[in-house]
Symmetry: C2
Subunit: 104 residues, 2 copies
DNA sequence: ATCGAAGTTCGACGAACTTCGAACTACTAT
DNA sequence: ATAGTAGTTCGAAGTTCGTCGAACTTCGAT
């Protein structure tokens, strides 16, 4: 397990990458769960794919700069990256609000 | 030339499709140009691809529900779909504002 | 009627993506 | 040390995507 996975620098975060990451149903659902700004674990993302596929989607979200993964023992806690959200506040704030709304 | 191209019904517009459409540099630039809410023509989109590729991107944006194409003679005028923007106001308003900002 | 201009559609191509299962790694508990 | 658990990485297979050039359609002008 990667103890310190590749989180891109804030400067390397591109909006088109972020949108591409959001352009998939599974990942959009994951972000919808994360939109409450809390930390979540894998079982919270009710997405019907195998573990390796979920890992892949996590990697896409991570490399886009949207999420941060924190490791504690064998478990992985994932949350939205506050710095990126703030940097792209104009673009992303409404997106997250709409996802929260949709989850309810 | 398609005189009356396929614009999806407002109900069939999905957010994940929209994000997927925005997840490409060329298309994101096109939307950035359109973000002033005015009608534009092809030459306004300073995107370095051939005509057929531009047509392809237009189709993706159209089928995602983001843009509307109006034909006048041989020319095609394209603009953002106000109804979709309003329907997904929470999600899209900030996105467009950020694109305007970036264009300046 | 013919020609040219503006866009679209049609293959085609390689690149990138999604998904899976199998093998691997890192940690925990016994 | 051994076994189990959580998650990642590694091919592989199939699909979708981005791009191009060529052929086609629609319209305007001559």
């Amino acid at each position: 397990m990667a103890r310190n996975p590749d989180h891109p620098d804030l400067r390397d975060v591109r909006l088109d990458r972020i949108f591409a990451a959001l352009g998939d149903q599974a990942r959009l659902r994951i972000v919808a769960v994360l939109a409450d700004r809390a930390e979540h674990q894998r079982e919270d993302f009710a997405v019907e794919v195998g573990p390796s596929t979920l890992s892949h989607h996590m990697k896409v979200l991570r490399e886009a700069g949207l999420v941060r993964c924190r490791f504690e023992g064998t478990r992985c806690f994932v949350s939205l990256r506050a710095d990126v959200l703030q940097r792209h506040d104009t673009a992303l704030d409404g997106v997250l609000r709409s996802l929260v709304q949709e989850s309810a």
